[in-house]
């Protein structure tokens, strides 16, 4: 099995490199690869320089990072909740971010302010969920899940209420939630890069512990795993990565759900191998999504969240068919 995994690594990285290259040269304005090289070297036309270096490069980098981050968090949350249908938003982080963005948009805080407020409320929400779900020194994932669902529902109802009384901002709020990287600049990259990369690396340290936790909380503890510590780290770091991703790109769904699944199908459930592959596949997925968002209806753009949502439907159908076949075969 190890041989197969290693043999997949190089092609995967090459695919990532390829998709980034294609993404950098595609868009409303087509910049051939040769010119990209020239621009990086210091030349190229002024317009294309601006487009590539100020607009496209940060955007593609951000898409790759958010794709990787959400996929890694999705992988860990699926393990933590012992449920392959979990995703990074299942514990309420996204509802908090949406709530923060709504308030910021209503208050007219500008694009930067919206991002920070979304980030702040995302973290606040997961903290509230954790406090509610805690039972003495331990917290069970099922209570986290219930608390997350309850708080999310509450948050979204408040958002609806706010939209009702602030109809002028309504469409702006809706567009924010749809998720897109169209306004990503270098500031966003500098803010999120350390958070997401450091976060993913920290979480990866607990990959083997997570394997044990998947087979049972009690079992993991009896195997010497400090389950409460692992849970706390995975939840807090995972929420930070998700909050950073959502505050910049909006709520881009399905990445954190689909990518770990596909990765698991290819390389198995051992998190030590699964997590890096999830990261690479997630980066590819979101880079391709962003490329499509920019090119399908150029010069108009489609929010990235809509494209990922379009993938979600067929994916679930595929899962359903797969399960039916499995059940009928038994």
């Amino acid at each position: 099995m190890k041989l197969t995994n290693r043999s997949l690594l190089v092609p995967s990285l090459m695919l990532l490199f390829l998709s980034v290259a294609v993404s950098l040269s595609s868009g409303a304005v087509s910049i051939p690869l040769k010119e990209i090289v020239t621009i990086i070297g210091g030349g190229g036309s002024e317009t294309n320089r601006i487009i590539l270096l100020s607009l496209r490069l940060p955007r593609v980098l951000e898409a790759a990072m958010v794709g990787a981050g959400l996929s890694v968090v999705g992988t860990f949350f699926q393990g933590l909740l012992r449920n392959p249908m979990a995703d990074p938003y299942v514990l309420g982080v996204s509802s908090g971010a949406a709530f923060g963005a709504t308030i910021a948009i209503i208050l007219g805080l500008g694009v930067l302010g919206v991002g920070f407020t979304a980030f702040f409320f995302a973290l606040l929400t997961i903290s509230i969920v954790y406090i509610i779900a805690k039972n003495g020194p331990k917290v069970t994932m099922s209570s986290m899940l219930l608390a997350g669902i309850a708080i999310s529902a509450f948050m979204y109802s408040v958002i609806s209420l706010l939209m009702l009384f602030n109809h002028n901002e309504l469409s702006r709020i809706v567009f924010w939630t749809m998720g897109s990287f169209s306004l990503t600049g270098w500031n966003d990259v500098f803010f999120s890069a350390p958070l997401i990369t450091a976060g993913c690396l920290i979480m990866y340290l607990f990959a083997r512990d997570m394997n044990a936790i998947i087979t049972g909380d009690e079992i993991a503890e009896h195997l010497g795993v400090n389950t409460e510590l692992v849970k706390r780290v995975v939840l807090s770091v995972g929420s930070l990565i998700t909050a950073a991703s959502v505050s910049i790109g909006g709520i881009i769904g399905f990445v954190g759900l689909i990518v770990p699944h596909i990765a698991r199908l290819l390389v198995g459930p051992d998190n030590r191998i699964l997590v890096p592959f999830s990261a690479v596949f997630g980066a590819i997925f979101l880079v391709v999504t962003d490329t499509l968002a920019r090119t399908l209806l150029a010069p108009a753009e489609i929010p990235a969240g809509i494209i990922t949502a379009t993938c979600g439907g067929p994916f679930f159908l595929y899962l359903l068919v797969k399960t039916k076949i499995k059940n009928e075969g038994m």
Binding site: F206, A212, G216, E218, H222, L223, G224, R264
Partner: protein
């Protein structure tokens, strides 16, 4: 120095006391079965011995060391725990599952070595599961999976192995297989403490039996000494006849037929 020493162990959930100042000493490796009615505290006792739960009072020592003074990993090097079968939806191979038992010895950063792989192989061969090493754990039968779990506990190289109703849901063939295995492991120097549901199976396979009742050890000793109509009646609220198992000469419990009681007119 006793292998396992439990002193005045009291424990419970919220305000309810479940274990009532239990003291047990076991000096050598053997196969001990714990039986009792549901709710008498068997599982709680097991979880307090393993260190998973914190007792309200009293202590647990393994070869003289207080388990509360050990780190989680150190405890896992002394005690192996095999719980009831919990389903999970991830396609781990049996080999990988059993290898998890080496985690207490590896820490977070060490990779598995050839020596670890040898230990896994030994454990799996001992439990007759080596031929399942590449199979997906969730696709095995209950009995096979139970033996894989035991193999995993074995790779922890523990002094004590705790099992919570390891055979309750298995076919009789696998029940016998697993209990045979546990008996053999005890003869290899591991203290086996198993909560068992079936009094007769416990009687047949265990070196020693502890009968629990309402948070106390009602009686403790060899099966022949301990399995009496009085003890069984007191612990399980049932009238029984004790026979001699013709194959093993151990006590065999048979419930007495109830006398028909007339319904009184109210």
């Amino acid at each position: 120095m006793p292998l396992l020493q439990i002193s005045n162990l009291s424990a419970g959930y919220l305000k309810k006391e479940v274990l009532n100042a239990i003291s047990i000493e076991i000096n050598k490796a053997q196969f001990t079965g714990i039986i009792g009615a549901n709710g008498c505290g068997k599982t709680t006792l097991l979880k307090n011995i393993s260190g998973y739960h914190h007792p309200w009072g009293g202590s647990v020592h393994i070869s003289g060391k207080d388990i509360r003074k050990m780190s989680i990993r150190e405890r896992a090097r002394h005690i192996g725990y095999v719980p009831q079968d919990i389903p999970f939806d991830f396609a781990f191979k049996c080999f990988d599952l059993v290898m998890m038992g080496r985690m207490p010895h590896l820490g977070r950063f060490k990779k598995e070595s050839g020596a670890d792989r040898e230990i896994v192989r030994d454990s799996m061969e001992l439990t007759h599961t080596w031929h399942l090493k590449d199979r997906i754990a969730t696709e095995l039968s209950g009995g096979e999976r139970q033996r894989v779990y035991i193999a995993r506990a074995l790779t922890q190289q523990p002094k004590i192995m705790l099992l919570d109703e390891p055979v309750s849901h298995l076919d009789i063939k696998y029940q016998v297989e697993v209990l045979d295995l546990l008996k053999e492991l005890s003869s290899r120097g591991i203290l086996i403490l198993a909560v068992l549901h079936d009094i007769n199976l416990a009687s047949q396979f265990c070196d020693e039996i502890m009968i629990m009742r309402e948070g106390n050890i009602l009686s403790r000793g060899k099966p022949a000494e301990v399995i009496t109509p009085q003890n069984i009646g007191s612990a399980f609220s049932i009238d029984v006849e004790i026979f001699d198992n013709p194959c093993t000469q151990t006590p065999y419990v048979v419930p007495r037929k109830k006398k028909k009681t007339r319904l009184k007119a109210v």
